[in-house]
């Protein structure tokens, strides 16, 4: 019982981290049709930068903000220098971002080396918290409650906040409508006086920033090291394929599903836990290629 509850919570909280990173990916691709396979590199960069900022200022929050801002700036540069010139050329964007990710990966290896960076969990998030869920009793009949790491609960809360901010922004505000219109018919939209290029840059920055923040969070409860960029990219891909590109709700669903699959898999089928997630992707593809919440591709 205890194990099952813990696994459930673990899956949901892992899904929360995947959501934060994958939401950036789905924003950039789903909304703007920009293929950014360097998304994982942005995650890794955010992790390294956040680590450095925290080492200097001793503040985890500063690290998060710093990572968000700097990686968002990098994202802006990417949008202006590269994606703007290749709007609509999916394959070229793919190849360019793959090349970029190779270059970035080696540069990061050069600067930060092959070692592992563990971002310090801040004091106010450290350790386990007792949840009001009873999982058993001691020998003398006293109830035993579930202990759960505070950090993971925070990540869950963070992800929910991000989701609650993103969803209405895209689906209920004018900005969201503008973005979707801009992708479908940019000329018409600029004719109405909207500076569509600026909107694109900002959305890209937001998506990139989310990846950067994800990197710091990932570095806190896991670790930052070379190779995390590829793993994160693959995880993001699977999440958005399963959930549906361009849909915040879909990304959330996909993230939770994948997170659960990984954690449940690691308890009951440890050897092939990761294969389980790819299997889910294949099944979704076979029966619903656009993803659970995906619209027309």
């Amino acid at each position: 019982m205890r194990l099952f509850l813990l696994t459930l919570l673990n899956g949901i909280t892992l899904g929360a981290l995947y959501f934060v990173v994958a939401s950036g990916f789905t924003l950039i691709f789903g909304l703007m049709r920009n293929v950014n396979l360097a998304h994982g590199s942005l995650y890794l960069l955010g992790g390294y930068l956040g680590y450095g900022a925290i080492a200097l200022t001793d503040s985890w929050v500063v690290g998060l903000v710093f990572a968000f801002l700097v990686v968002a700036l990098v994202g802006m540069a990417l949008q202006v220098l590269i994606f703007r010139r290749m709007q609509g050329q999916d394959l070229r964007q793919t190849l360019v971002t793959i090349a970029l990710s190779i270059v970035l990966a080696d540069l990061m290896l050069w600067i930060w080396g092959g070692g592992y960076y563990q971002v310090q969990t801040p004091e106010w998030l450290y350790g386990a918290v007792t949840l009001p869920i009873m999982v058993g009793a001691t020998a003398s009949g006293e109830p035993v409650y579930l202990q759960y790491p505070m950090l993971r609960l925070f990540i869950l809360a963070f992800a929910i906040v991000v989701g609650l901010l993103l969803w209405p922004m895209l689906n209920r505000t004018r900005i969201g409508t503008m973005i979707r219109a801009g992708v479908d018919d940019g000329d018409m939209l600029s004719a109405t006086g909207v500076n569509i290029q600026l909107v694109f840059v900002l959305v890209f920055a937001l998506g990139a920033g989310l990846a950067g923040v994800g990197g710091v969070i990932g570095g806190t409860f896991q670790a930052i090291a070379p190779g995390e960029d590829v793993k994160t990219l693959l995880a993001s891909l699977v999440v958005v394929i399963v959930g549906g590109m361009g849909s915040i709700v879909g990304t959330a669903l996909g993230a939770v599903l994948i997170g659960l699959a990984e954690q449940i898999g690691s308890v009951y089928l440890p050897t092939y836990a990761v294969i389980l997630t790819f299997l889910i992707m294949v099944v979704v593809l076979a029966f619903r290629p656009q993803g659970i919440m995906g619209g027309r591709q």
Binding site: A55, G114, G115, Y117, T121, Q222, A223, S266, A273
Partner: protein, 418 residues
């Protein structure tokens, strides 16, 4: 109709190949190849390996057996195919006669097979420590003066049972062959002295989220044996602490290596007081080790090396020293496919930084091992304090060879002892 464009490049490549000079056999120079992972994530280890070779060559003033030694370095990226390709380049293109390396386990297994196709070259292992490189189907021209993963665990099991009194433990380790090897050595020793391993969690390599593995660890055990390397170890220790885990830990060699003890962050503190076993110990106070450590420190400025030699520098140093001693023993006689030289290597009693090293009938090292405990060192660092040093242990861990082989190759359940 499209071939016109295609012959330019091959033609250039061919011309370049023809211009590549053949290996000129200079009078009394011997070309030796050094192969380590100088690319990718393990680059730092590979660099230290090369430093180990350099220290040995410096000690012998670059001469042995009447030859001047010319070292040619090559790099792999820890993938066996790349290692073989690099070895081929050293042998076929650069003309080396002796090859020192490789660094990692799976490269070593591939190198052993490759050695069988090159009977005219002598191969001396670097630090690769897979068991089957010498235990099963060894190559007659492949020599390993370095212990294998099972030997690295020797002595820890007995110590944990007899001195610490931990008779019931759980184990968590990475799911690939090297941790299997560490586990084999540990379990044979531990269970042989009456200990019980009640559960084994094998974590796929590169797992980031340990939450559920930690949740599934049994709580009614005396300690947990952890054989995770690098980032996996750090992630595990961090998450373990935050999940409220308070069990005592026992560490495999890869869990207390320098990269983890010097990592940035609080995770490593979970290791304080953890006993471990490993083939070297940074603060061994034997004169042999101290001399070697000093030679290493003197040879390179502090910002271009580690504070003390890593096991990679040590392993490659030992291999190079063996190569040079062998040459001296036969006065440089490499005739007849190195027949006399190989005989000399097989009979060598090498005085290394960790003690005396000899070879068994499969040309595998018999050498001592260290039991250590993680303690705080000067300046907030963490080091492995030596508790004791075992006498030289063979690859069959003191057992009769047939009996040892009967346990079968390393694997997830080998040996069973619960």
């Amino acid at each position: 109709m499209h071939f016109t464009r295609s012959y330019v490049l091959p033609a250039i490549a061919v011309a370049a190949a023809m211009l590549a000079p053949p290996a000129l056999a200079q009078e009394k120079t011997l070309k030796v190849g050094g192969l380590a992972t100088l690319e990718g994530v393990f680059a730092k280890n590979g660099e230290d390996s090369m430093r180990g070779i350099d220290v040995a060559l410096k000690e012998y003033k670059n001469t042995a057996g009447g030859y001047k030694i010319e070292l040619i370095k090559a790099s792999s990226d820890a993938k066996p195919e790349t290692a073989i390709r690099a070895a081929r380049k050293l042998i076929e293109q650069d003309g080396v006669k002796i090859l020192i390396g490789p660094l990692s386990g799976s490269e070593g297994l591939a190198m052993k097979d490759f050695a069988k196709t090159k009977p005219e070259i002598t191969f001396i292992n670097g630090t690769s420590a897979a068991q089957d490189t010498t235990l099963r189907d060894p190559a007659p021209n492949f020599f390993r003066f370095w212990t294998d993963g099972a030997q690295w665990s020797w002595g820890l099991g007995e110590y944990v049972v007899k001195v610490k009194g931990w008779k019931k433990i759980a184990a968590i380790a990475e799911d690939y062959s090297f941790p299997y090897t560490l586990m084999l050595g540990f379990a044979l020793d531990y269970c042989g002295h009456g200990g019980k391993i009640v559960s084994r969690s094998w974590v796929p390599l590169g797992t980031k989220d340990y939450a559920s593995y930690i949740a599934a660890l049994p709580t009614d055990v005396d300690a947990i044996y952890v054989a995770l390397g690098g980032g996996d170890a750090i992630a595990f220790l961090n998450q373990y602490q935050q999940a409220g885990g308070k069990a005592k830990l026992i560490a495999g060699a890869i869990t207390v290596d320098q990269s983890i003890l010097t990592s940035k962050g609080k995770a490593r503190e979970a290791l304080l007081g953890t006993p471990a076993a490993q083939p070297i110990a940074d603060n061994d106070d034997s004169p042999a080790w101290k001399t070697f450590a000093k030679a290493y420190q003197d040879a390179f400025p502090p910002d271009q090396r580690f504070p003390t030699p890593s096991l990679f520098a040590t392993g490659y140093y030992i291999a190079t020293k063996a190569m040079l001693e062998g040459l001296n023993a036969v006065k440089g006689d490499l005739s007849n496919n190195h027949a006399a030289y190989r005989q000399a290597l097989s009979k060598l009693k090498l005085q290394g930084p960790t003690g005396e090293i000899t070879l068994d009938e499969n040309r595998q090292a018999i050498a001592p091992n260290y039991i250590t405990e993680v303690v705080e060192g000067p300046g907030g660092s963490m080091i492995n304090r030596v508790i004791k040093k075992t006498p030289p242990i063979s690859q069959t861990l003191g057992m009769d060879r047939a009996k040892f082989l009967a346990f079968g190759p390393v694997g997830r359940d080998n040996p069973k002892c619960n």
